[in-house]
């Protein structure tokens, strides 16, 4: 018996099941992450010799004007990127989920399948698709806006310093709205019918039922959607890189942590790359994500448990 293996021979079968997966995971995911955190404390001279320098990289990143300006810019842009997702993607996802979960709605499956479709495609491909659609050269969006009487509002949104980041955020929202929709939809389906029935029998309107019964019950899911959005946003890179390149133009107005990390690590144009500085940026990204996850786990989830059945 496996449970009584105290005096039994060495449990080779456990090793057999565990070792291959654990080995790959530890050596290619856990170790590199720890090694990156460690590398952030080092510096490299011209000959490639590494030496320990404590927190100097972080001091440079956070306070030295040449480095800190791009860093704070990227962090602030990334925060805006996240805020747009929270304010647009998740409410739309919630609304679609509520509509889809209404009982006996025809074609519900088809709507779900079709609305989720863009989520399946590569971020890179989506970036190019929208770059073409918003291009003033092709003029397809411009004509469309003229057709619905809003033509004068058209601008080269992706090219303007003031609008590029918001436009890219909305493209990302357009692509990923399917994820909150699906997850919230699933949690709406899990609400016991008796609760809804009781509320209806008590004479609540559909809106009251949603606000007083359904919303509190799906709050844990909304919390989970938020943290998934947070991690994905502060780890994003592809969309900006595909549409704007590693320089995240115009004038770094679309630079986020992912593109900053890429440029710091590999270098770009005049700036040469630095392994140790790249590791420092990655460490800061790790800390940001860790703080987000910690807030979620300790604060949000604990408070939400009150509402759970």
């Amino acid at each position: 018996m496996t449970t009584s293996n105290h005096k039994a021979p060495f449990p080779w079968h456990i090793l057999f099941f565990l070792a291959p997966g654990l080995l790959i995971y530890v050596s290619i995911s856990v170790y590199p992450l720890l090694d990156t955190l460690w590398l952030g404390f080092f510096e490299e001279d011209e000959s490639g010799q590494r030496f320990f320098s404590g927190l100097k990289n972080y001091q440079t990143l956070l306070f030295d004007a040449v480095w800190s300006e791009p860093f704070w810019n990227a962090l602030w842009n990334n925060t805006k990127f996240f805020i747009v997702h929270m304010l647009v993607q998740n409410p739309i996802g919630l609304m679609l989920a509520v509509l889809l979960s209404s009982p006996r709605l025809q074609w519900s499956n088809s709507y779900r399948t079709l609305i989720f479709m863009p989520t399946m495609l590569s971020v890179v491909i989506i970036g190019f698709v929208w770059q073409l659609l918003l291009s003033p050269i092709w003029g397809i969006s411009e004509n469309f806006l003229y057709d619905i009487g809003l033509g004068e509002y058209f601008d080269a949104w992706l090219g303007n310093e003031g609008t590029a980041l918001t436009t890219l955020s909305l493209i990302s929202v357009w692509q990923f709205v399917g994820i909150p929709m699906m997850l919230i939809y699933a949690s709406l389906l899990n609400i016991p019918d008796e609760l809804i029935d009781a509320s209806v029998v008590d004479g609540s309107s559909a809106w009251q039922t949603f606000w007083n019964i359904k919303l509190p019950l799906i709050l844990p899911t909304i919390g989970m959607v938020s943290i998934l959005t947070f991690v994905a946003n502060f780890n994003a890179f592809e969309l900006i890189y595909a549409v704007k390149g590693a320089l995240a133009g115009p004038n770094f107005s679309t630079d986020i942590m992912g593109t900053l990390f890429y440029r710091t690590f590999f270098g770009f144009q005049l700036q040469s790359g630095s392994i140790t500085m790249g590791a420092a940026v990655a460490t800061l990204m790790f800390l940001i994500i860790l703080i987000g996850v910690a807030i979620y786990l300790f604060l949000v989830q604990r408070r939400m448990q009150r509402f759970q059945l």
């Binding site: 790959i24 290619i28 995911s29 856990v30 479709m117 399946m120 890179v124 092709w138 780890n235």
Partner: protein, 288 residues
Amino acid sequence: MLNQMTIPQKLSIKHGSGKKVMMHGVLMIYTFIALFPIFVIIINAFKTRKAIFKDPLALPTPDTFSMVGFEQVLLRSEFELFFANSMVVTLLSLFFVLLLGAMVAFALTEYKFRGNLFIAILFAMGIMIPIRLGTVSILNLMSNLNLVNTLTALVLVYIAQGLPLAVYILSEFIRQIPKELKEAARCDNVSEYKIFFTIVLPLIRPALATVAVFTMIPIWNDLWFPLILAPGEGNQTITLGVQQFIGQYVTDWNSVLAALTLAIVPVLVLYLIFSRQLIRGLTSGAVK
């Protein structure tokens, strides 16, 4: 079940059909918003350059039909090769994520041993912490192993990337397998290996399918690791290949549209075939 049938009926009578129409209206508008951009790209890929600019929203007609973009893409890039690379990388990674993930999940849920909880937490952390953050050291490691610019490097990274979620979901399912099945086999002196491969693995097939879909999509769509670990010399995946091709031929609208279409259509076809499976996985609570 009975409640479900009667109460909503009452609801729909009370609120009339106006509300239903409005709901369909909103959903249709959003479906349109979701699909229209993709539709525009695909129809224009089959048109002449002149027609693309003259009337972007028109369907290709015999007059405006043209495959010149596709010819250019196939001529000027090794598109078939990129496609094959993506296939190889995705399928190999997928196979190992499923096999090794199921094995780890089985070991962690079935046996009590020292370090069990620690290993389980280690894997759970990988669900939230993106593997990308270790890129600096991964590149170091791969160049030490002489694996830079090989598909092997990508497969290894993707296995490590896919394992945490696979272990998590599969553990949930393996836990639900009745103990009696395994104990009966053990009484018959069936080996632990045989129990896993002939009893457990077939029973978790539906879960494996769910994990497969979740694992496959990010791998197929990834740009970051191909860009860093296998950027050239015929080792590009389709996502990277398309990105490089478009960067190079950005002014050739026919080619760009054709390249995008070639990247989109296979995914959409696969999606429509497997959407039922995927949506069931997403909504069954397997990822809660």
